[in-house]
């Protein structure tokens, strides 16, 4: 098997799920004839036809609304946001219709919303955002954010098979930068379980998405200085694998959280609070955060670089924590 990129892995997941289950349909802007702005759905219209790959007007609210409606018919629609930033246009559908349907009246919504998020590609304030916490804060939604091609495929398959609405945040920086060989047979990655990407005894660094790459790079540098960091790739933000985080912290007694989302209201705060409540006695130092600045994502390269967490920020924070 030749190695595949993350975007190819996503396409494979869609293709295989559509093949497996005719209840799976795709809906979004420019996903059919054009194959999607990032080509995630390329070739699927030709294969599955107009009824299963639905090009829509530029109407995010209608896309999500129609997907909800189709899911009430027992279908499993996968809606694409051309860029995750545009999910703000259908925020109401997401948080009021989709998220609350099962709780309020027992109307399950087995749909997926997927699309590219994140910065580092000079997309500017409206093509670079990380909107995960808007939705992590909304009970009823699941939120996944893979960092590898394997996970992108396995999590998307789990999302499609899940009876709940799942938001798949695919980091566009990773779409063509990560590559790996994937199993030939069908597999899924469970939603709600983190992955230990590197073991270490000195401190735990929890992260997800594109920051997993930066963090692993930082961990290698730290190892050369004799600091062994354990790197957790959260993979799912809702539901958060709190037990997995606590288990690691109980061994290393130190926790650093790294994310590309802005600092205030980012998931690091939630993780710090959880560790505080449930493993305070285990801690040998403060829970630290390395995040983006509390600002919109700026456009010009030096500004964006300053805005985003860099490898050096991670190593600096890790050294500081290791000293405790």
């Amino acid at each position: 098997m030749a190695p595949v990129t993350m975007i190819e892995a996503i396409r494979e997941a869609l293709d295989e799920e559509m093949q497996r289950d005719p209840a799976v349909v795709l809906i979004g802007e420019d996903i059919g004839v054009y194959g999607g702005a990032f080509k995630a759905t390329e070739g699927l219209l030709a294969k599955y036809g107009w009824e299963r790959v639905i090009d829509t007007p530029i109407s995010e609210t209608a896309i999500i609304g129609a997907a909800v409606g189709m899911s009430y018919q027992g279908l499993r629609p996968v809606a694409e946001m051309q860029f995750m930033d545009f999910i703000a246009c259908c925020f109401n559908q997401m948080v009021n219709f989709v998220a609350k349907s099962h709780y309020r009246w027992g109307g399950p919504v087995p749909m997926v919303v997927r699309g590219p998020c994140g910065g580092g590609v000079h997309g500017g304030p409206f093509h670079s955002q990380n909107p995960e916490m808007w939705f992590v804060h909304t009970p009823g939604l699941k939120v996944v954010c893979p960092s590898t091609a394997y996970d992108a495929k396995g999590l998307l398959k789990s999302a499609i098979r899940d009876n709940n609405p799942v938001l798949c945040l695919e980091h566009k920086f990773l779409y063509r930068r990560v590559k790996e060989e994937l199993p030939a047979e069908d597999y899924t990655v469970p939603i709600g379980k983190l992955a230990v990407r590197r073991t270490g005894r000195d401190l735990t660094i929890a992260t997800y998405g594109a920051m997993t790459l930066h963090t692993l790079e930082a961990a290698e540098e730290l190892a050369m200085e004799g600091i062994e960091a354990e790197v957790l790739d959260l993979r799912t933000l809702a539901p958060l694998d709190r037990e997995g985080i606590l288990e690691s912290v109980r061994r290393t007694h130190k926790l650093l959280v790294v994310h590309e989302d802005v600092k205030t209201g980012g998931v690091a705060g939630e993780i710090a609070a959880t560790v505080n409540e449930q493993a305070f006695e285990e801690l040998d130092g403060p829970v630290l955060r390395v995040t983006s600045l509390d600002a919109p994502v700026p456009f010009s390269p030096p500004l964006e670089e300053h805005f985003l967490p860099q490898v050096a920020d991670v190593t600096r924070a890790a050294r500081e924590l290791a000293r405790y």
């Binding site: 349909v25 599955y48 219709f97």
Partner: protein, 416 residues
């Protein structure tokens, strides 16, 4: 008995059924007001008095396989689709036996499996794309169904309404949207919402069918909506049905509606849909006094039982608040296929992935403006007119000028 010719014939039983549902809706409404005054209703209470013909007449066009989603003033539709007064009573009283077990109130409930009813959310407009999706999904499964929802005159101003109608139009979805034009959106008159006499005109911009109907004439409502429904069922695309009616109470119980000119209430009171239908049934000898009395007694008896049942339902256990945020195996998701699924899998499903473009989009000449359309502002939306009308409402009845403008508001506006 001699029934008038109708394009979509209604039997005597069906005609009496329409009466039963309208009357039941109103009696239930009045029962809820009594409960509200006894402090047994939790939260606000919304009335559909005066709009029974719209709600019942439209919902009555649906078949069992069809889907609907009610708005706040569609208790009548819920009853037609098979929910019971107890369901609505318990929803308003927040009891454990209610369809949502106390998790939500009012008409915010549904039933995917049996009755095919989707629960609304409070945010106006969002049901339009959702019911478009239900229609698209049903068509995909091969079901010959139609979906329906309602929207108020005010709700048509939302972005979700527009996105949903436009998608329905682009998809030619078997979807019927009923605009319940009851002249008011909370305290805002319809002229301030949109400068059109007929909201149905909006349909033209979507390139879909539209109808305007006297919303207080249940037979007309049924006939018109049935036309739209059957058209959609045949695959001829969505439709917008504007039903002109009047909200005869305030927005909810707390609102005395002092902003509505009294003459307007009088105008519409004279057109009460239930009284009109009673006359209609009598004049055509569909019923006699005895039948009417029987229906009334039946409703009275049923409502008594329903109320007793509802009042005996306890408030929910507090821990219910924790349950059901996610589906953890409590539901089985199953699509009801009514077509061979091979059609949807390759190689049968495979297509040439290319657009067919036949219109290249030019104007073919025609000078500076090949087409022009510049309507004059309608009288009632000119800023001065609106200001004058607001003043008139606030000093209602104090002088002749005020009376005139109140009457003008009550008169159905003519298109120029």
């Amino acid at each position: 008995m001699e029934l008038p010719e109708m394009k979509y014939p209604l039997s005597r039983e069906q005609l009496l059924d329409l009466y039963y549902f309208m009357r039941l809706t109103r009696e239930l409404d009045e029962q809820l007001v009594r409960l509200f005054r006894q402090n047994k209703v939790v939260g606000g209470l919304y009335s559909s008095i005066g709009q029974e013909a719209t709600s019942v007449g439209t919902a009555y066009t649906l078949e069992k396989r069809d889907w609907m989603a009610p708005m706040i003033r569609n208790v009548g539709g819920l009853l037609v689709k098979g929910f019971r007064p107890r369901d609505i009573l318990m929803q308003y009283m927040a009891r454990s036996g209610s369809p949502t077990g106390g998790k939500d109130g009012t008409s915010h409930f549904g039933d995917l499996q049996e009755r095919h009813v989707v629960s609304p959310i409070s945010m106006l407009g969002d049901l339009i794309p959702v019911m478009t999706g239900v229609a698209m999904g049903g068509r995909y499964l091969g079901q010959k169904l139609v979906t329906m929802t309602w929207i108020g005159d005010g709700g048509t101003s939302t972005g979700a309404f527009h996105e949903g109608m436009n998608l329905a139009a682009a998809q030619r979805a078997p979807f019927v949207c009923v605009v319940e034009n009851n002249q008011w959106a909370y305290s805002t008159p319809v002229a301030r919402q949109v400068p059109l006499h007929d909201l149905a005109e909006r349909a033209r911009a979507y390139g879909i069918a539209s109808y305007v109907v006297d919303g207080n004439d249940v037979v007309a409502v049924y006939q018109t909506t049935k036309e739209a429904v059957e058209r959609a069922r045949r695959g001829e695309g969505p439709a917008l049905v504007e039903s002109k009616t009047m909200r005869m109470k305030g927005h909810a119980q707390h609102d005395a509606a002092v902003y509505v000119p009294p003459e307007m209430f009088e105008y519409w009171k004279a057109r009460d849909p239930i009284a009109r239908y009673e006359t209609w049934l009598t004049e055509r000898k569909v019923w006699d006094k005895k039948t009417k009395a029987e229906i009334e007694r039946r409703i009275e008896r049923e409502l008594k039982e329903e109320l007793e049942f509802a009042e005996n339902s306890p408030l929910p256990e507090p821990e219910v608040a924790e349950r059901g945020v996610y589906c953890e195996g409590c539901h089985t998701i199953e699509a009801r296929w009514e077509r061979p699924i091979e059609q949807l899998q390759p190689p049968k499903a495979s297509v040439q992935a290319a657009w067919t473009v036949s219109d290249f989009g030019g104007t073919n000449g025609g000078g500076a403006a090949a087409k022009a359309h510049a309507p004059e502002a309608a009288e009632e939306t000119k800023p001065a007119a609106v200001a004058a009308k607001a003043a008139a409402v606030s000093t209602r009845g104090a002088n002749g000028g005020t009376k005139r403008s109140a009457r003008a508001a009550a008169r159905p506006k003519r298109r120029r």
